[in-house]
Amino acid sequence: MSATTHALHLDRFEAAKAGLPGDARARADALARYAKLGVPTPKLEAWHFTSLKPLDEAALAPSDAKVAVTAATVAGHALSTSHAHHQLVFVDGHFRADLSRIGTLPKGVVLTGWSAAKSLPKDFLAEAADAGAMRVLNAAYAADGAILEVPAGVALAAPVHLMFLGASGAAHARNRITMGEGASATVLETYVGTGRYWTNAVTDISIAAGAMLKHLKLQTEGGEAFHTAATAAHVAAKGVYDSFVLSIGGKLARNEIDAVLKGEGGRVKLEGAYLARARQHIDNTTIIDHAAAHCDSEERYRGVLDDHAYAAFQGRIVVRPDAQKTNAHQLNENLLLSDRAEIGSKPELEIHADDVKCGHGATAGEIDEQALFYLRARGIGLEQARGMLIEAFVSELIDAIADEAIRDRFTASVGGWLYDAQGARRAA
């Protein structure tokens, strides 16, 4: 059998399992489930727009964490040191205490890589019966990840920065964030790297009553990289899950968010932007499950697609029979810079309650010619004018990010993308 990512993950398990921490049975079960499910294909509803064939053909084996990374590399991706923050670094999914700067934490807060943790939550590798193949594969191989526990009533003022550096093979990091009642925190995940590798991350989040998590993600993986990530957030009564995902990197990237509103008065906000060019493929698939009454959800994703890029947006909103007085709004807007770029956008509203306010919309358009002419008529060159309009489209979302250091980082990443895209345009 020729080497595929799939086959390598099946074949290497026997040899790898002894070195993997935690519940060995759970891992073996997870691998068995993965073997049954196989690599997801577009035949599956949830993968309608995205084929993982290139990932499978890339023949990437589970990474062995021996890659050297310098402090300078880490510093290049760190948040500005003029803003206090807690930084954890992972290389190919493995925690690197030597590169991390956790700093002082409020009393009771746990923040660590799990290879350095005193104990692991029992259910750490547990997967629901309907979990997808990428999640269960992560459960089989996850060797490390971040753990953040903010106890009841504690506000973690400085943001937590989880930095994931990819270099080789497949990295299956598994993160867990637990917010106690009334707790609050801001967590930024960034994904960067060089070369051909695969990030397959899982982040599980539990938000207790009245707690709030601001969760930001910056995906700027290398151009040859594959990125699949699944975030699950459970929100109790009056809890808030506020997410922003900026996807720029990777050859093929998929971000899944599965948010469940489990108690009355909860709020979920999912925002995101994606910028893709060349032959990049970026998929955002989200589910917001209104399982309780009186909850609000707001979803807004904007995409910019150039060259032959392809983006998928699938946004499913479920309103359960008991979830009366639900407010749910979804909007996906796209700017197509080339007539070869393509967007597959699919909203899915599944409403089982009658007293609800739900709405959704999807648009795809080109750069506004009138706006472009207005800028040029003032002396601003065509490329710069285009750049201003593209940046404006995305920055309308980014400018609302509350944390200054993170907002600056996001703005700079968009600026970098524009610069590269303009360079490519000039060269073409």
Binding site: D368, E369, Q370, A371, F373, Y374, L375, R376, A377, R378, G379, I380, G381, L382, Q384, A385, M388, L389, E391, A392, F393, S395, E396
Partner: protein, 249 residues
């Protein structure tokens, strides 16, 4: 300054201007009047270089250079300014950063040192003062949610800041209240000078009472049907277009 010779312009395959001749000397202000749909904005757009406005015959010379061969940004940098009849709303782009970028493009082109943020603010504040405006509009995204009059005032401000050689003001007076019209007019008058020419498109004699033109042209059906001195505007106001031999729209 500006020489328009036998200019024919097509939009979407349809000829809108059927041979315009107009000569605007340095320092002169000409008014262009005419019924709705007569081609005034088309003339303005073709001078500014809007895509889709094709010159099929004739020529436009600006300071001896072939204007039609230049991109819109090159024209702006050479000193052409179009005050839009309908200024465009651009969400997400702040007026200040846009204007700073524009000013510096023009300065770069003219070989003058670019302004840094502080210098630019000082420069803009002086212009704001001249036009009796605050800086609140400039801090907002370009034209977004501005009232009709606010949009027009910002157009004049942009002209004042960019210091063009040829300013084409397309119905800048429409939508201004009486006080704003006076302020804007005195602003325009302050910008009149030997090296600056203006083409003022308007429907109303009132503006021309403040900004007194050297010449008035009547455009009708894509042709200049009459040209004359400032009295022509008065005559027009009294008698309407029909009397002048121009077809009402």
């Amino acid at each position: 300054m500006l020489e328009i010779k036998n200019l024919h312009v097509e939009v979407d395959g349809k000829e809108i201007l059927h041979g315009i001749d107009l000569s605007l000397a340095a320092g002169e202000v000409h008014a262009v009047m005419g019924p709705n749909g007569s081609g005034k904005s088309t003339l303005a757009y073709v001078l500014a270089g809007r895509d889709g406005y094709a010159v099929t015959k004739g020529e436009i010379l600006f300071q001896g250079k072939d204007l039609a061969a230049m991109s819109p940004e090159e024209r702006a940098r050479e000193g052409v300014f179009l005050g839009f009849q309908y200024p465009v709303e651009i969400p997400g782009v702040s007026g200040l950063s846009f204007l700073k970028a524009a000013v510096n493009e023009v300065r770069k082109h003219r070989g003058i040192k670019e302004l840094d943020a502080m210098e630019f603010l000082k420069f803009v504040r002086a212009k704001l003062k001249m036009l009796e405006m605050g800086d609140d509009l400039l801090k907002r995204p370009i034209n977004v949610g501005f009232s009709g009059g606010e949009k027009k005032r910002v157009e004049v401000l942009q002209m004042a800041v960019l210091e063009p050689r040829l300013a084409i003001m397309d119905e800048t007076d429409s939508g201004l209240d009486i006080d704003a019209l006076k302020i804007v007019s005195s602003g325009i008058n302050a910008l009149r000078g030997l090296d600056r020419s203006m083409l003022v498109i308007t429907h109303y004699q009132r503006l021309l009472g403040y900004v007194v033109p050297d010449k008035v042209h009547i455009l009708s059906g894509g042709r200049i049907v009459r040209s004359g001195g400032k009295e022509l505007a008065l005559e027009l106001e009294e008698k309407g277009y029909a009397v002048l031999g121009a077809d009402a729209a």
